[in-house]
């Protein structure tokens, strides 16, 4: 990559490639100015979309010194199964574990259930003659000749990528490293990935699935990143090119080419980082990050100022999921979005989602031939979305088409009037989305009512106040430019490297010097990686955690542990921290029970200088009359109310609006219910106090 930069003057650019749009955010530290650009994502010309977006935002690559990027390329390659021809090399006796998986059958009464489909067919899974004990000692030494023979077969088969998983490599990576060397000698052009580079955590199926996913998407992601790198350099970019990981942290483009699986969920994670940045700016400790788009709604959590992450995730739906065992933002997703269709199920009940009308034909109100009602149609019919100001008026909406679809598919069969049915579709959608919010709060022992909600994505502001009412949330924030929020969030990311290593020891018997050695190794590696990145951080922060459980339990919880607990060999202090985390998460703890450590975790963060956000113009409580764009009949509860509509771009700091009201902007509409009160803050965010009125 290019020369070392990072904090100096120069524009900071972020590009978020989503399924439909490519969003650009550009921040100029010299004046605190933030600008955005949006272009369509065209699958075969993703890089052009970035270049066009930068142009639309009115900036250019030569002016930038940081380019931050998140993309769906990795996840799409995995979900659409368009990756490389991949082989798996695995410990003798375990060839089938990738196919066997965890043998669970969640869809319990369905005889037509399906299991996960491996990314590598069985014929390309090969055993390696070797075996380690759990302690890392060698039970059977590595048969190098057999590896070379296998490589000859791989060459013959035209394999492009090779994943290597050997049992207990977290305790001793020597065999994985040696197999890697041999494969690289024998197949110099192949993309080679070993499991311990990605995860040094026990559970062979999950780690296997992780390393295979990395190898499978590797060649495509590598050339994608290289393509961007070449193209932006051609355009005169001379700064640091960093990629957003699923944790929301940044890593070097060169590293993203090898550890591709770390960027699977970069866009959604960046939205949560944006929420954290917003919390920082306005002094909030706890918030729910709520993101609603066309097909899904997602919720993440900021707790005590930190975005909550998890050590693994399931990719592609629970029943058929391929697990990925790496650190990720803890985000819960439900299949409810603006495009989610409403239908009457065989049993006679009303269902909303998870099927989506997609972009073609889209919701009925798009007038493209769709005749199935969606959440968007319900919003249009109820007056919540303006038919002539959607996407800044670029896309007129047909209210009648929405009404007809709702009538034919929902209201008629249920014997209701159209508006009641539309209202019903929204209510069902809201309960489903509330489930995502519950999953990240209530289900980990947090009370959603104690959190503010930050709502973004095209459809987030439309439904935020409904969900807040459902969950007992009192404060809702709609950030500046909610449709570009992931790109905005990227501007606030830090360099971040996460490490985990399984190490089983009872707390009472723990050898502090041995544990210290492991932590030091992981920390040294992380610091070295960060020092290799072309961007220069202001400072480096190292944090430690351990996965702990009571002796006899299997599930562990991750406990953040301050370094002095180790320096002082404070067993009691560690135990207290664990008991407290267990109590918070599960509502019980057992201080008298013995505990044990399962895995050690280290996060090394290279803190980058943060943009200082520009404050917007101050004004009076009453918004300027030219911000008032009209009055529309909007249905709240049982009746239609005359509702003021406002142009968000003309609101200034200090303006107050009382609900019912609609605040409209290019790609989004914020709905204020009767009783809700809105204030525009210094940064242009809409702060809404939810009224007691239930509607």
């Amino acid at each position: 990559m290019a020369s070392k930069t990072g904090n100096g003057p120069g524009i900071r650019l972020a590009a978020d490639i989503g399924g439909t749009f490519t969003d650009i955010a550009a921040f100029d530290p010299s004046d605190g100015r933030l600008v955005f650009g949006k272009t369509l994502s065209t699958p075969d010309k993703l890089i052009e979309g970035i270049v066009d977006g930068v142009d639309k935002a009115g900036t250019a690559f030569p002016e930038a010194n940081l380019f931050l990027h998140g993309s769906t390329v990795a996840i799409n390659t995995m979900l659409e199964r368009t990756g490389a021809k991949t082989a798996l090399l695995i410990t003798e006796g375990f060839r089938d574990i990738y196919e066997i998986g965890r043998v669970n059958r969640p869809d319990a009464y369905n005889l037509f259930f399906q299991k996960h489909q491996p990314l590598v067919e069985r014929a390309l899974r090969f055993e390696v003659s070797e075996r380690l004990y759990a302690e890392g000692a060698i039970h059977k030494s590595l048969d190098e000749d057999s590896v070379r023979q296998t490589c000859a077969l791989l060459r013959e088969e035209g394999v492009e990528a090779v994943a290597i998983l050997l049992l207990h490599c977290y305790a001793n990576p020597a065999h994985e490293l040696r197999v890697r060397e041999i494969v690289e000698e024998e197949l110099p052009d192949a993309f080679v990935s070993t499991s311990h580079e990605l995860s040094q955590e026990y559970r062979e199926f999950e780690r296997c699935s992780t390393v295979v996913a990395n190898a499978y998407i590797g060649p495509k992601v590598e050339s994608y990143i290289a393509g961007i790198d070449d193209r932006i350099q051609e355009d005169g970019f001379d700064g640091s090119f960093l990629v957003v990981q699923s944790t929301g942290g940044l890593y070097d483009g060169d590293q993203a080419k090898r550890q591709c699986v770390r960027m699977l969920e970069s866009g959604p994670a960046a939205g949560v980082i944006g929420t954290r940045a917003l919390c920082d700016a306005i002094g909030l400790e706890n918030a729910i990050a709520f993101d609603m788009g066309g097909t899904t709604a997602k919720a993440g959590v900021i707790h005590n100022g930190e975005a909550l992450t998890t050590g693994s995730a399931l990719i592609g739906g629970y029943e058929r999921a391929l697990p990925v065992q790496i650190a990720m933002m803890d985000i819960f997703e439900v299949g409810t979005g603006g495009g989610s269709v409403a239908r009457i199920a065989d049993e006679g009940g009303l269902r909303v989602g998870p099927q989506s009308a997609g972009a073609q034909p889209g919701p009925a109100c798009y007038g493209q031939g769709g005749d199935i009602p969606t959440v968007t149609d319900a919003n249009v019919y109820l007056g919540r979305l303006s038919p002539d100001r959607f996407l800044g008026g670029e896309m007129p909406l047909e209210v009648d088409a929405a009404g007809t679809a709702i009538d034919n598919k929902v209201a008629g069969p249920l014997g209701m009037d159209t508006a009641d049915a539309a209202q019903g579709i929204l209510r069902v959608a809201v309960t489903a989305m509330s489930h995502a919010v519950k999953a990240v709060t209530t289900e980990r022992g947090l009370n959603a009512g104690d959190f503010a909600m930050v709502a973004y994505g095209g459809a987030g502001p439309l439904h935020a106040c409904n969900i807040a009412r459902e969950m007992g949330i009192r404060d809702v924030f709609i950030p500046h430019s909610p449709g570009h929020f992931s790109a905005f969030g990227m501007l606030f990311s830090d360099l971040r490297y996460d490490y985990v290593r399984s190490r089983f020891t009872r707390l009472a018997d723990m050898d502090f010097s041995a544990i210290e050695k492991v932590y030091r190794e992981l920390e040294t590696e992380g610091i070295a990686e960060i020092e290799n990145v072309s961007a220069v951080p202001e400072r480096i922060v190292v944090s430690r955690a351990a996965d702990m459980r009571y002796v006899g339990q299997e599930h562990s919880v991750t406990v953040d542990l301050a370094a002095d607990l180790f320096a002082n060999e404070d067993r009691a202090g560690i135990k207290e921290r664990f008991d407290a985390v267990h109590d918070l998460r599960y509502g019980t703890c057992a201080p008298q029970e013995r505990s044990e450590i399962v895995s050690l975790r280290v996060t090394v963060t290279g803190m980058l200088a943060k943009p200082d956000l520009q404050r917007i113009k101050q004004g009076n409580e009453a918004p300027s009359p030219d911000a008032h764009t009209g009055v529309r009949q909007v249905r709240f509860g049982d009746e239609r109310l005359a509702t003021d509509t406002w142009d968000r771009s003309r609101l200034v700091s200090g303006n107050k609006i009382a609900g019912p009201a609609l605040v409209e902007e290019h790609a989004s509409t914020t709905v204020l219910h009767p009783g809700d009160g809105l204030t525009v803050d210094d940064y242009g965010n809409l702060k809404i106090s939810i009224g007691s009125d239930a509607s």
Partner: protein
């Protein structure tokens, strides 16, 4: 919303439906996260649910698919025992009566009445499996008394006050009293969560509206079940299978005969001709007889209808006279209750195949295929009890789909196996392999799924205990499909494999350091004539290693080499012959 509408508001009904599912899911996750024993949080051997004030099922959170009926029957028994007038706010009712739950004594079932002010409006209930309830540790049992502590219907808590004497009795009778109390607390967390959330919902939408919605949800489920039953041609359908033996009278086969009668939109599952209760611990109570019928019926008529509720079963009649192996009476031993019912469910599918071949499935491995090990861990000199499995086995093929490999049996649902890396770090084992068994899937136009082999070597001596069924009654094929490999348990001593056992039940065996045992799960039966399976597909099965070159030739009449290169001419010739 309009407050004047007649009948339930369909929107509220849908919100209540989602609400009920969410409540039982939350009860489930609270139980799983706080439980101490892996049988709950890994094997998911539990069930939680919400019930009407009469004990009808509103929503069940699985858990154990075969426990679809157990809690409802337990609540009805509790209501009958006390009389509804003697059930008060703050009571918690407990029992593990195996003849009421239909299962074994390890299933402690707690129920909490839910009161809206003074009116009983429902129950929150939680069954969970405790790893130990006393009784004998190893070997087979032949009556209930040797299986541990029996708790009749009692009030664990009376109007908010815990009956400490019951706690003392439990603690005195179980081997791991502290763990048991941990699981007990987890179960109480689950039912109090259920009570709280249900009341929130009732307060939000009103008692009458919620009751109407529940009734509406049940009616919807009933309509759907009736419509799907109506689409099955009327008739009397019968099928038969057998169990290997009862663990006492070795090799005495135990007949399983089922009769299914379809008349219009109603179905009867008649288990009158299932074998009488047996000497060994494979019996279950009448609740499980009903559960077998319900599980089979739900799989056929409403597999993805949620929440699981009583409405779905209104057009099902189960005929189960007492004294059968799934309607056993005291003092029949019940400890391994879960094995036989799975085969009954499979046999119902077999019976219905002539009528609805597109909706049934060939036989599956139908056993947990687990082994229980105990010994002293040399690392810390502590006594341990460990499990290998559930191994996961093959599922049957269907009319248009191959069977799924390596998946838990129908008794189990979202149940997980244990990673080798976890087992080896905890216990003195070396897992030698965990592999698909080539040729274990039944041949057919659609091939059955493959079973697995899991071989465990002792790094220090331990005791092995395994009681696996269906070694001889192999998972059958349908409509010309072939049977699959059966389940097995085998030992290796001093490097020599001993595989010649009369059954797959090794109730006590000592495995010495360096020796090993293997559990082998069966496959799934095939569906349709194997010669109709496209030769290219068979050749690909050979290339992948699911099917051997020999089996391709013998069972499918396909000639190819080990790399799946098809000899088209030889195949055509072979398929034309006979």
């Amino acid at each position: 919303m309009k407050k004047t509408s007649t009948g339930p508001d369909p929107i509220v009904t849908e919100i209540v439906r989602n609400g009920m599912i969410a409540i039982t899911e939350e009860m489930k996750s609270n139980l799983m996260r706080t439980a101490y024993n892996m049988i709950i949080y890994e094997a998911l051997d539990f069930t939680v649910g919400l019930f009407t004030e009469k004990g009808e099922t509103i929503s069940i959170g699985l858990g154990l698919p075969m426990f679809i009926r157990g809690m409802a029957e337990t609540i009805k028994a509790k209501l009958e025992h006390y009389g509804v007038e003697n059930i008060n706010p703050g009571d918690i009712l407990l029992t593990n009566d195996a003849y009421i739950t239909g299962s074994h004594l390890n299933h402690l079932t707690f129920s909490m009445p839910i009161f809206l002010e003074d009116e009983l409006i429902g129950f929150a209930c939680c069954m969970a499996h405790w790893p130990d309830i006393g009784g004998t540790l190893d070997g087979i049992t032949t009556d209930i008394y040797s299986e541990g502590l029996q708790i009749p219907i009692v009030k664990y808590q009376r109007e908010g006050v815990v009956n400490e004497e019951i706690v003392d009795i439990i603690r005195a009778n179980v081997r791991l009293p502290d763990r048991a109390m941990g699981d007990l607390r987890a179960q109480l967390t689950a039912i109090t969560t259920g009570e709280r959330r249900y009341l929130e919902l009732v307060k939000r939408y009103g008692r009458a509206q919620v009751a109407a919605s529940i009734s509406d949800i049940m009616d919807q489920s009933e309509r759907a079940a009736r419509a799907r039953t109506l689409s099955i041609p009327d008739g009397v359908y019968e099928a038969e299978s057998f169990m290997d033996d009862d663990g006492v009278s070795i090799s005495d086969r135990i007949p399983i005969r089922v009769r299914v009668i379809v008349e219009g939109d109603e179905m009867t599952v008649d288990l009158s001709d299932v074998a009488a209760q047996v000497q060994g611990f494979y019996n279950s109570g009448i609740t499980t007889g009903y559960a077998c019928s319900q599980v089979a019926f739900k799989c056929i008529t409403s597999p993805t209808d949620y929440p699981i509720n009583d409405g779905s079963f209104r057009n099902l009649k189960a005929v189960v006279p007492p004294g059968r192996v799934v309607s056993a009476v005291k003092p029949a031993p019940m400890r391994w209750w879960m094995t036989f019912p799975m085969t009954i469910v499979d046999t119902v599918f077999k019976a219905l195949t002539p009528a609805i071949p597109e909706r049934t499935i060939a036989g599956h491995h139908a056993d947990l295929v687990i082994a229980m090990l105990n010994g002293i861990n040399p690392k810390n000199n502590e006594f341990y009890i460990a499990f290998i499995g559930p191994t996961g086995g093959g599922w049957g093929a269907k009319q248009n789909e191959d069977g799924v490999s390596a998946t838990v049996c129908i008794n189990d649902g979202d149940t997980h196996n244990s990673p080798a890396e976890q087992l080896e770090s905890k216990y003195p084992f070396l897992i030698e392999n965990y592999a698909l068994r080539k040729d274990s899937g039944g041949a057919g136009e659609y091939r059955g799924g493959l079973g697995c082999e899991n071989t465990v070597q002792a790094r220090a001596d331990f005791m092995l205990n395994a009681q696996v069924e269906r070694m001889h009654c192999k998972p059958w094929g349908l409509n010309g499909g072939k049977e699959a490999a059966g389940n097995a348990v085998v030992l290796r001593a001093d490097g020599i494999w001993e595989e010649d056992y009369p059954n797959a039940k090794l109730l006590t065996a000592r495995i010495k350091q360096g020796d090993a045992f293997a559990v082998r799960s069966g496959g799934g039966g095939g569906f349709g004539d194997p010669r109709k399976r496209p030769a290219e597909t068979v050749a690909d099965d050979v290339r992948q290693g699911y099917v051997s070159v020999e089996s391709a030739r013998k069972d499918y009449a396909v000639v190819c080499d080990a790399r799946g290169n098809l000899d088209a001419a030889a195949t055509e010739k072979l398929r034309a012959g006979n």
